[in-house]
């Protein structure tokens, strides 16, 4: 079996598992596959994993495991990693585009020489992949947005972006789960709660999930 990944020491209590260094759904599927294999195996001494675009950070307790031991276990599991993405129906995110909820929609349209309606159509017709979660609790980095609506970030970030705001940052799109500072162009807002500590898991979107945006209008 060919080597799927490289294990790099990350401090004295983690391993950085590096797959092919690119943003690619197949590579990302391997990351989530390995993460799931590790959690199913319930290996004593593994604390948790952090999946990212093309890598998985595996945290361990140095009292119970050391680097060579964990690399050996990971290599065993590596043979079972799958390139296939998780087959699941997309999670539907209702979104109100534009107006007070999407103050940058017109800017995104103008920047790309499109009408606001066209931006909405392009944004809501794609299926997105949750590559990873980070930045704030529950913030999903979504891949799969059309380059036709790619827009550079704000020159200086807003101090407060309301929870549920949907933004475009470069050729990525994402949803702000909690009120936080943010530099992405805000095109709309979802009424869904993406982060709720009363629930376990506390997030609506999980790494590896598929997402679709459904345009809605505000109930007056």
């Amino acid at each position: 079996m060919r080597k799927q990944f490289k294990c790099v020491p990350y401090g004295d209590s983690a391993v950085l598992v590096e797959f092919t260094n690119k943003i690619d759904p197949k590579v990302n599927a391997m990351v989530h596959s390995l993460s799931a294999l590790i959690s199913n195996e319930k290996i004593e001494g593994i604390v948790e994993t952090i999946p990212a675009y093309s890598s998985l950070t595996v945290l361990y307790d140095p009292k119970l495991l050391d680097f060579p031991a964990i690399v050996e276990r990971l290599n065993e599991l590596g043979d079972k990693c799958k390139e296939r993405e998780k087959f699941s129906s997309p999670i539907k995110i209702p979104i109100i585009y534009g107006g007070k909820y999407g103050p940058d929609l017109q800017f995104v349209a103008n920047y790309n020489r499109l009408s606001a309606e066209e931006v909405i159509k392009i944004h809501s017709s794609a299926e997105y992949l949750v590559y990873m979660i980070g930045f704030t609790p529950g913030f999903a980095y979504l891949g799969g947005m059309s380059k036709k609506i790619a827009t550079p970030r704000l020159e200086s970030p807003r101090k407060k972006v309301p929870a549920g705001s949907v933004g475009i940052g470069g050729d990525q799109t994402g949803i702000y789960p909690i009120e936080s500072p943010g530099g992405w162009r805000i095109i709309g807002r979802t009424p869904l709660k993406l982060f709720d500590v009363e629930k376990d898991p506390p997030v609506l979107l999980k790494p590896g999930d598929k997402v679709r945006f459904i345009p809605i209008i505000e109930d007056k």
């Binding site: 004295d12 950085l16 994993t49 704030t136 609790p137 790494p207």
Partner: protein
């Protein structure tokens, strides 16, 4: 119920245990005490589980009054604690009477003190932990730092040790050593040998932009090869040292974000995180590269100290009050390895 009434919350006081693990994949940082060693000893001193929550008191200015009797311990930084106006030395436990006033008046050594109570601070566990993550309002006392006039309830304690327990002085850290040990990686290959040597041989200063999320350092600029400081975002850990394009390193601390896109030149070893936790803005520090083996040894020896202390203190007799009928009894209990049941039967006379 025993309570603590906050008179003055100080600049930044939060409830922290050993952290919230298992949720970093959802973007939730572990949080937890910056100085996990001091936290665990604070708990051991009052007979709590080692991962129970304590107040993490940053710098001087905190004062509070107790309502009811309890046992407390103070560890970590020496912030000039006084009990009813009398100076007390940290790294020991104290018995508290109703109305006792505790103050932290002046920073002497370190930066963060831990205040534990027998029975723990009675706040709900959120996602398995009492730790406060203020940026997302998770955990601790209503998800935030303490304010004046807050009232925190104290959990039930099952014993009172009416004796001040003290940690042997050779175990008490002095926080005078500012040499932090690191392991190179995971992205040290982004930097030339010359830049890595510069990083390891220079002195850096902790800037004012340093908090529970991360420490921004100021010192010699570090340049990645071909100026490539950006990486495809990957996991970020406690102690990871990022180098953004401005070349000034950032050490990630307890409330660090879970993924990041800057190259990490090295990672602080677990055993030296408590040392970092006790640095103040303006302090100088430098880094020393150590082997994997040394890092592991240092971690295991720290765990060993904690295990031994816990064992020793468990051996001390505990004092309980027992009410039988209308009468109170004071009962001293000492742990023993085996309980031998005694047969109760008829003895022929």
């Amino acid at each position: 119920m025993t309570k603590l009434i906050i008179k003055s919350a100080g600049p930044f006081t939060t409830i922290q245990d050993l952290g919230r693990y298992g949720y970093q994949k959802y973007g939730i940082p572990p949080s937890g005490a910056m100085d996990g060693f001091a936290l665990q000893i604070a708990n051991i001193l009052v007979g709590n589980k080692r991962n129970e929550a304590a107040l993490e008191i940053t710098s001087a200015g905190f004062s509070a009054i107790f309502q009811g009797e309890c046992e407390i311990a103070i560890t970590g930084a020496d912030l000039g604690a006084t009990l009813n106006g009398k100076a007390i030395t940290p790294w020991q436990s104290f018995h508290i009477q109703n109305g006792d006033v505790l103050k932290f008046e002046k920073v002497k050594t370190g930066c963060r003190a831990y205040l534990s109570v027998g029975g723990g601070w009675d706040v709900p566990k959120i996602l398995g932990s009492k730790s406060t993550y203020t940026r997302a309002n998770i955990g601790g006392y209503h998800g935030r730092k303490l304010k004046n006039a807050d009232v925190i309830e104290i959990g039930k304690s099952y014993h009172f040790a009416f004796r001040n327990v003290k940690i042997p002085s050779h175990i008490v850290p002095t926080y005078s050593n500012h040499k932090v040990r690191v392991i190179l990686g995971p992205e040290s290959n982004r930097f030339s040998k010359k830049e890595i040597n510069k990083f390891l041989s220079s002195s850096y200063r902790l800037t004012g932009q340093s908090d529970r999320m991360g420490y921004r350092l100021s010192g010699p600029t570090l340049r990645a090869k071909r100026g490539k400081h950006d990486i495809l975002s990957n996991g970020v850990l406690l102690g990871a040292i990022q180098v953004p394009p401005d070349g000034q390193p950032i050490v990630m601390m307890s409330d660090h974000q879970t993924v990041g896109g800057y190259a990490k030149i090295s990672t602080v070893i677990s055993a030296d995180i408590p040392l970092l936790a006790q640095l103040k803005p303006g302090d100088n520090l430098s880094f020393k590269h150590v082997s994997f083996e040394e890092a592991r040894k240092a971690y295991l020896s720290m765990q060993n100290i904690l295990d031994l202390l816990e064992k020793q203190i468990r051996k001390e007799p505990k004092v309980f009050f027992v009410k039988i009928g209308e009468k109170f009894y004071k009962v001293k209990v000492r742990a023993c390895s085996k309980i031998v049941p005694k047969e109760i039967g008829f003895s022929p006379r």
